[in-house]
């Protein structure tokens, strides 16, 4: 015979604490969790890439558009493409114009090099 755990969960949790729920991303890129993708989300993700804002774990997971475990320029380009309907190149040009401090092309070059070295 076994003591059934489920019937006494409140007692356990009263001492050991409730389990942390695993966060599930509902809409990638929606880092302000308003249910929509818009320019405000781009601004926030850009701030993550520039290290001017530190994302929470939930914000980080939501900002990781390509789900590679990293939030970088590729995620910014992807979220711009989703919002504006632009191509990769079109998104890059839009970012160069609107977020010059992001230095998009420089970041892409570094990314290319890192891929090259990884090989």
């Amino acid at each position: 015979m076994y003591s059934k755990v489920h019937s006494r969960l409140p007692w356990f949790f009263g001492y050991i604490g409730e389990p942390e729920d695993d966060f599930v991303v509902e809409l990638y890129g929606d880092v302000n969790f308003d249910g929509y993708l818009n320019v405000a989300d781009i601004v926030t993700i850009v701030s993550y890439v520039l290290n001017t804002t530190i994302p929470t774990e939930e914000e980080f997971l939501t900002a990781d558009m390509n789900q590679d475990g990293i939030v970088n320029i590729l995620d910014v380009i992807q979220v711009v493409g989703e919002i504006l309907g632009t191509t990769f190149r079109g998104s890059v040009e839009w970012l160069i114009e609107n977020f010059p401090e992001l230095e998009v092309e420089e970041r892409l070059k570094v990314l290319d090099k890192s891929i090259h070295f990884a090989k």
Binding site: M1, Y2, S3, V5, H6, S7, Y15
Partner: protein
């Protein structure tokens, strides 16, 4: 009558005497008369008909598995437990009867009960027995042990889905307990699959409370046994994660 007693012997939680997979050289068999034991006098439950856990620690198939041990000259394993938080172990309340925080330690990451490689020893500073625990009926046979230092081993999550209580699913129980009723305990961690049985076989309704769950092989030969008390009854959820669904408590045999 003989047939009825045999069924009682073989169903659910009897420490059966199937020796095909046991590791100890000598075993004693139980007598029929043991089926007349009152719930309050129940013997400790053991792994019977099990197999050695693989991979063993330090690669730990079951990193949450805990050995609860006495300290001092007469020390050693006496009950199992489960790490449910980095600093909390759940075990059976009947394992904690008469025990004090200074008299026991828990060991995590063990495979050979006599070994120490890769394992952690943790002292405890609090024992919490369920307030409604009954030493006679073994209802609410739950206890929590608080560790003075957190463990680095991965805890198991508590089951939160009621479906698992009702499905006739296969579960797994593990421990270092006896490999036959009244027999020798195992030096290495053993595991055995046991089906959950909501009918609880031939156990009477008066013995089984809503806080108890029955699991065992109706054909006999696979079970938990003395020394496994307090250990985990687990199942694997849809994500392939282990969940704690029960704590080894009691059984005839």
């Amino acid at each position: 009558m003989y047939r009825w007693l045999m069924v009682l012997m073989l169903l659910l939680f009897s420490c059966d005497t199937d020796s095909t997979l046991t590791t100890e050289p000598e075993m004693t068999t139980m007598s029929m008369e043991q089926n007349t034991i009152n719930p309050g006098d129940l013997p400790w439950p053991m792994i019977v008909g099990g197999t050695e856990v693989d991979p063993a620690c330090p690669d730990c198939k079951y990193p949450f598995m805990v050995s609860v041990q006495w300290t001092g000259n007469w020390g050693g394993h006496f009950c199992g437990g489960s790490l449910v938080r980095e600093d909390w172990v759940v075990t059976a309340a009947h394992c904690m009867e008469g025990e004090s925080t200074s008299g026991i330690v828990v060991k995590i990451g063990m495979h050979n009960i006599n070994g120490t490689t890769g394992s952690e020893t943790r002292y405890i500073d609090e024992i919490i027995v369920h307030p409604n625990y009954s030493s006679w009926s073994l209802d609410n046979d739950y206890a929590l042990i608080h560790l003075t230092q957190p463990s680095s081993f991965e805890p198991i999550q508590l089951v939160t889905d009621t479906d698992h209580d009702e499905e006739p699913v296969m579960s797994t129980v593990m421990g270092w307990g006896a490999t036959s009723s009244g027999g020798w305990s195992s030096n290495v961690l053993l595991e055995v699959d046991v089906p959950i049985d909501n009918s609880c076989g031939s156990y009477s309704n008066s013995e089984i409370t809503n806080n108890m769950i029955c699991a065992g092989d109706g054909n006999g030969g696979e079970d938990s046994c003395q020394g496994d008390s307090g250990g985990p009854l687990i199942m694997t959820n849809d994500e392939g994660e282990y969940e704690l669904i029960g704590i080894v408590s009691w059984g005839y045999g």
